[in-house]
């Protein structure tokens, strides 16, 4: 059921302690800063967070980690020049890390949304990231079995929504938004603009409204 809410606080109010939360964005592009700030304020903790990175600088996901709200990160690229809050928590043994090759991360999220029970991929075969995983040789190539990655909630950022919850994005800020929207039980979207139903060309909709639960406009 689709809801248009007035504030980011209302949008995240239902997120429970212990939830798995997917957060869109690659670096800062597409990262829903305002929703993350609201998540911080609402106090939910013991979270498992799925994002490509583990926060940059002193904002958004990085702050959520600094405040100790994140029990576990599932990501492909935690270590960056400005990932000091994650680095500190990791070195202190205060955050768990599941490191996933970026393509496996994307495909696992996509699999969850598409109802796939698991898939074989050559990525990671023969590496330490495949240790303990089922493997098989398919058409002469070693492949690793990967499982879908579901979430309780997705927080994503899009450019424009229409009255049906259909979304379009902007440039490389699209990144994980569409697949996370489909993989989460409850998808919360911050948008720059809301247009009336019929205001988006049906040929150009990127995320159909069926994947969207809450929309909030952020100035």
């Amino acid at each position: 059921m689709l809801n248009f809410v007035d504030t980011v606080q209302d949008a995240v109010a239902g997120i429970k302690d212990g939830s798995t939360v997917m957060i869109g964005g690659f670096g800062n592009a597409g990262q829903p800063f305002e929703l993350i700030d609201a998540l911080m304020d609402c106090g939910a903790t013991d979270l498992t967070v799925v994002n490509n990175n583990a926060g940059q600088g002193d904002q958004g996901l990085a702050l959520l980690i600094r405040k100790g709200r994140v029990r576990k990160m599932i990501c492909s690229f935690p270590r960056q020049s400005d990932s000091w809050h994650f680095d500190a928590k990791y070195k202190a043994g205060e955050i768990e890390l599941e490191l996933v090759p970026q393509g496996n991360l994307a495909e696992r999220i996509r699999a969850a949304g598409a109802g796939i029970g698991g898939f074989f991929t050559p990525t990671g075969y023969g590496t330490m990231l495949a240790e303990g995983k089922e493997t098989r040789i398919i058409d002469g190539r070693g492949q690793v079995f990967e499982t879908p990655l579901h979430a309780d909630v997705a927080l994503i950022k899009a450019l424009t929504a229409d009255g049906r919850g259909n979304l379009v994005y902007r440039k490389t800020a699209r990144n994980f938004g569409p697949i996370m929207a489909a993989a989460a039980k409850h998808t919360i979207v911050q948008v720059s603009d809301i247009v009336p139903t019929g205001g988006l060309d049906p040929e150009n909709v990127v995320t159909p409204g069926i994947y969207v639960n809450s929309i909030v406009k952020v100035a």
């Binding site: 970026q102 490389t172 697949i179």
Partner: protein, 227 residues
């Protein structure tokens, strides 16, 4: 084997080791016209400076774009338009945007002609180690390296041949954690261009050394590539 039989006159193509820019120019020249290419973070990014309009190369960035242009400057900087290294870039005519699963489908489905990556080590059979030192306490980060290594039709590596300590980065077997198995097809270094594969390492050209001198540095058997 004598160095004579191993060293055709033409093999040495430059009198001195190549600098980073000369190496990038060489890689760029070797990319076939019309190719779809992903350039890894760091040294491989330099290659884009030497691609010509006539080559008609399309650059892919794994965060969701084909048709990536040069780095953005001044007013062209747009936080929503970045590359895999999170650097602001530009969009060329004929570009397209897509989400992450579609972007990695391009890489993993074997649709990229070439990716160019940096490396810690490459083995004689083309194993690649370029993501993690494995050192105790090091925070690992893999990004799209494994997807590129296993997905692109050709994986080119750009690196110095030797570590700062003078050890060859072309090795019998990688001691660093692997990125991919048997995936590297070509290694561009300051001292030589190597072709790697299931049959071992051949040398296409050398820069400032003979094949025999090169063999002194590299702990795996080298032969001259058949042109």
């Amino acid at each position: 084997m004598s160095s004579e039989t191993n060293q055709p006159a033409a093999l040495q193509s430059a009198p001195e080791p190549l600098g980073r820019d000369d190496l990038a120019r060489l890689v760029a020249r070797d990319i076939a016209p019309g190719s779809f290419v992903n350039l890894g973070i760091g040294q491989p990014t330099l290659v884009s400076n030497y691609l010509t309009a006539e080559q008609n190369i399309t650059l892919h960035t794994e965060n969701g774009m084909l048709g990536m242009g040069p780095a953005a400057e001044g007013d062209a900087i747009d936080g929503d338009l970045i590359n895999a290294g999170k650097i602001p870039v530009t969009e060329l005519p004929g570009a397209s945007y897509f989400h992450h699963a579609d972007s990695f489908a391009i890489m993993r489905g074997g649709h990229l002609d070439i990716c160019v990556l940096g490396a810690f080590q490459v083995s004689a059979t083309g194993d690649l180690a370029n993501w993690h030192t494995g050192a105790p306490g090091a925070i690992p980060a893999v990004g799209g390296a494994m997807d590129l290594a296993t997905g692109a039709k050709d994986v080119f590596v750009m690196m110095t041949l030797l570590t700062r300590e003078g050890a060859s980065k072309i090795v019998e077997a990688c001691t660093y954690p692997l990125t991919g198995v048997g995936c590297v097809t070509r290694v561009y270094t300051d001292k030589a261009v190597f072709l790697t594969g299931p049959n071992g390492v051949t040398v296409r050209e050398t820069f400032g050394c003979t094949l025999a001198e090169l063999q002194e540095l590299v702990p795996v058997p080298l032969t001259a590539a058949v042109p």
